[in-house]
Amino acid sequence: MSLRRRMLLSLGLSFCILWAFAAAWLYSDLREQMRQTLDQRLAASARMVAGLVAQLPDNAWAKAGEPMLSIPQSTGVACQISSPRGRVLMRTHGDFAGQLDTPAPGFTDRVIDGARWRIFTYVQNGLYITTADRLAERVTLQRNVIVVAVVPFVVALLGSLAVLWLGISRGLQPLERLRGELSRRSPETLSPIGITDAPAELMPVIDTLNRLLVRTGDALAREQRFTSDAAHELRTPLTAIKTQVQLASRVPPDQARDALTRAEHAIARLQRTLEQLLMLARVEASQAGIDPTPASSVSIVDMALADLAECARVSVHLDSPAVTVDAPIELSSAALRNLLENALHHTDGTESVILEVQTACLDAVVFTVRDRGDWPPDQSTHRLTHRFWRYGRSQGDVTGSGLGLAIVATIAEHFGGALDFKARDGGGLVVRLSLPRKKPSAR
């Protein structure tokens, strides 16, 4: 059921019930009040007549023979004065003869000639003064009062229902517009929803939706950029291989050998880039919930150095006994190896690179790599972990994959560690990789 229909139905029904109840109450109250008022007036008129009769001389009634019609006949009301013995002294209506004999004092209802009458009898000095009021007149009056009182009620009710319908329709218009806008969009559209004049209740919804759209768009753009960058990084060495191999078949043999050597370099680069990309994918795909193989800090260093071509240039300082790191050994040693490779790559062949392992901290192991490489002291280090960014590329240095430090940063982030860089005075970098220690309680 649509929101509009639901609101219309519930509000409309409550309106009708409330108004009907109010109308019924008003009707019964009015009827009672009217009956009382008219009865009071009937009684008052009887007393008024009694007052007049009391001023007459005592023998006035003796002269009277037959009851006489002393008042011109009027419809709906009647009056009669009778003696205690039942003799009618005066009456307004001739046709009441015999009908109002010996009436009981007070109010009574009686049917006279097929019409219902309300009768009041007042006793004074032995005289019975009776006034009567035809009920038909009262009913007509009541009906008129109802028409005057209830019809505006009904009209007002119908009017409020119409206003309700209009109000709900107009009030729900922003929702309806939002629905229309959303249903018109294709699922790929990520542009923000362009409703600016929505009511305050709807604005947070639209804002949240727009923020979500922007975030999704950003994530998608990042993915696309990465894919595009990855394609570039894979195609470039492939181009070199293809070009050099084709060249080898159309140049003299000595040049052909050169071309094939270059092709081999390109193949090595392609292989490295592929391996790094796969490593990145593995890190990103690994589930945080899986209990990693515990790795001791010493074995991480050993494994990182074992795969390193120039491990002789690394001087290792272990300050304390081995502790267990809460990250798989394969990934943590790969991260450390990438740091060392990077430091060695940017350092003069005669300079050594210093690796310090600090286990003094209770919740983390800190690997610090210091080099005296070509990193200038005043350069900002924020781009170091950008994917496919290489320092020294403008000087034609494209031997790295541009992914090494990005992988370290991803590993650090994934396992709750940290990676930070500091340029050294006099050139070079200090890189600190901290990985969380395995908590004894977790075992």
Binding site: S228, A231, H232, E233, L234, R235, T236, P237, L238, T239, A240, I241, K242, T243, Q244, Q246, L247, R250, V251, Q255, A259, R262, A263, H265, A266, R269, R393, S394, G396, V398
Partner: protein, 228 residues
């Protein structure tokens, strides 16, 4: 013909350079946009092969600047990015052709030849001028139906004069097309090649325009020379 190659990758760049040299082009290769910009300001290149992913600037920015300066020389863009939007952006910026990495050396050469031909306002690759017939794609020349052997530089000279849209080619332009940025060139080297070309194909084929350079002779003039 002179090709300005702007490609930052060592292995790709060296391959393209040698490949184009084998195909008879004179190549100067730069690895940055700044160097490419500088060289084009000082050199009369016939073609540019431009890689988009340069370390110091986007190749498209360079191309946009050149077109804004009114440079009309043909530019072939090399890129490893294959999104349609990238290609459209490249062509709209003023690239004449687009080649996706990895490419075939033969295709690159054929596309460069086609670009040169188009820049000269020619639709067919075979050129007939009086008794002389030239096939630039295969670098072969015939005179009266007999094939004539030309050196690489002689052929480039002939092609440059045949393709000259304005008719007259200056000595500087010829020198740039033949030697590029190579400064170790004898001052009369171009004249020596012109002399050999005239000797092999007829004196009337290339006319000297005093103070301006050289132009192609009328077909009838070549006939006249050959009759002697």
């Amino acid at each position: 013909m002179h090709v300005l190659l702007i490609e930052d990758d060592e292995l790709v760049g060296s391959g393209i350079r040698t490949g184009l040299q084998v195909a008879g082009f004179t190549v100067d290769w730069f690895k940055t946009a700044a160097d490419g910009r500088l060289s084009l300001a000082s050199l009369d290149s016939d073609l540019v092969v431009l890689d988009l992913g340069l370390p110091d600037a986007d190749g498209l920015t360079l191309l946009r600047d050149w077109r804004a300066q009114g440079l009309t020389l043909p530019v072939l863009v090399l890129t490893a990015r294959d999104a349609v939007a990238d290609r459209v952006a490249g062509l709209q910026t003023g690239a004449d052709d687009y080649l996706l990495k990895p490419f075939d050396l033969d295709e690159l050469i054929a596309r460069l030849q086609a670009l040169l031909r188009r820049a000269a306002g020619r639709a067919r690759s075979l050129i007939e001028h009086g008794p002389v017939r030239v096939d630039p794609d295969n670098r072969r020349v015939w005179r009266d139906g007999r094939e004539v052997e030309l050196t690489r530089r002689e052929f480039t000279l002939l092609q440059k004069i045949l393709y000259a849209r304005s008719g007259i080619v200056s000595l500087e332009q010829l020198k740039d097309s033949l030697y590029g940025l190579d400064t170790q060139v004898e001052s009369n080297a171009v004249n020596v090649h012109i002399y050999h070309l005239r000797r092999k194909l007829g004196t009337g084929l290339i006319r000297t325009v005093r103070g301006l350079g050289y132009r192609l002779g009328e077909p009838s003039d070549i006939d006249g020379q050959s009759a002697q």
